[in-house]
Subunit: 330 residues, 2 copies
Amino acid sequence: MTGQHDAPILAVDIGGTKILTALFSPEGKMLAKDVCPTLADEGVKPVIERLCSAIESMLDGNNLKASQIGGIGIACAGGIDSGRGVVVTPSPNMAGWVDIPLADIIRERFKIGTFVVNDASAAALGEHRFGAGRGVNNLVLFTLGTGIGGGIIANGELYLGAIGAAAEMGHMTIDDNGPQCGCGNTGCLEMLASGRAVERDAVKRISQGEKSSLTEMAGGKAESVTAEQVGTAAKNGDPLALDVLSRAAYYLGIGMVNVVNIFNPEMIVLGGGMAELGDLFIGPGRKMVAERAFPISSRIVRIVTAQLGNEAGVCGAAAFALDRSKRGTA
Amino acid sequence: MTGQHDAPILAVDIGGTKILTALFSPEGKMLAKDVCPTLADEGVKPVIERLCSAIESMLDGNNLKASQIGGIGIACAGGIDSGRGVVVTPSPNMAGWVDIPLADIIRERFKIGTFVVNDASAAALGEHRFGAGRGVNNLVLFTLGTGIGGGIIANGELYLGAIGAAAEMGHMTIDDNGPQCGCGNTGCLEMLASGRAVERDAVKRISQGEKSSLTEMAGGKAESVTAEQVGTAAKNGDPLALDVLSRAAYYLGIGMVNVVNIFNPEMIVLGGGMAELGDLFIGPGRKMVAERAFPISSRIVRIVTAQLGNEAGVCGAAAFALDRSKRGTA
């Protein structure tokens, strides 16, 4: 049931808003890709049906039968047990994904080896094999989006921990007096440096009477300000937006200092929408790493932005399936 | 220069107060051990001379020539570049150890492959091979002493990071408004949960007029209260000692929650003098992991105390030399 060797790999990245499907050569070159909406709020079953349809149409469109591919790799948000291929706990955007045996479902449907990995870990593997981290043995990736995820490459290999749930970088406490996080922990990095944190901070300050161009950008509805708008306003010199972003950047810096001291990595890779703000958001953290982390580690670490954009996850899922199908652990 | 294969290994653990030397079979069984004082304040050269004498007398005492051993493994406190075998930055107890090419010095003296590794990383490897972590693929060790160090086993291997400086668990910020640490960072775990933190907290509170049996235990000199005395007083029910210890235990809990979310380890191993206080110090953190960490990770992690005591470092140094000499990277 592990499919042909030296055969193409089919990979999927299931996100809160879209399902990205792609076909890869056995060498990891992307041959084709397609995208469809997740419509996660319709529930688990309809999403799995859309996933199966996406896989079928990718096969059909490339004149392939399932038996002609080497394996299926799936990157999925949430707490993943990679050994069993189960989505154990859902990400905030995918309610209902509790103990879903995703690998078994897809494997039984297509009779082909199927491998499931957390999406941020997949992104780290993608960047390691095909992107910013090629040739780097030890790197930590942060996905800086609405929330904050992470992925770890250790001694040249993807590090997943005991069952696949490692690298929750967004959920380390960096301020034990900080706000309560939805994850059950307190003062998590995600509560202080994510896109959602930036939005919450901006909305709160505007609602307390502070003036900002953001109010007009949000059409007068200050409560609907987005992190993207805060980024744009900051680039245009809006003092409140600059201040909100600089607070988040400070906390990101603390998170990176921790990672440098804990991992002594050659590289930190920053991906996700917030990373696209560039030096405005990343610069302060770079400086903090230089000032606060152990010099033996800070002087060698390179802090870079991701190269694969929203394809990192699907590329990593392909690499994960390639690796696992070679090991014969379907 | 890599010595004989299937030959005994000589291992040393250089600490702030003593040098522990031991001889190991090629299978990693300890055959003999000896100890001498470090007298670190005499400076680097005298310590290295004592180290060489300790190695010589271990060889002589076992009727061995240096050419008959398979390699020398050295565990050393401080920031270690394991690839080059250099002590880059000193631990607080070993002033002057800056850019000391320890592997080269010992290798030239004894004409035998020599390998240097940070002492807490060595302890993690020791516990993994011979102690609490046998058969465990992913574990994180905390050394809870005057300071707090760490070691990481990832995917069944010692994780050292880019050059050997990884696993500074004591120097992750867990309270960004916390006290300034000597390392240059702020609110480090070590400033809040180490033996030194416990002493500082007890001394401060007594000097502010709080009553405690510690004052009498310290012979009236409250400023000389030790962490050990705080532990004893707490066991005897002294309210101030209990409160001081419970604060430190709370911060240790935060550090462990972070490690569980970041590493999804099968096991956390707690070593060092503070770990010997047992549930009084470890219990609250165990509870916090259950309450605050991701359930997918918290429900599988075992939090245990180390088994090898002060021999963990020298055992790990032996394993490190065995591994490296097999790879032929002297």
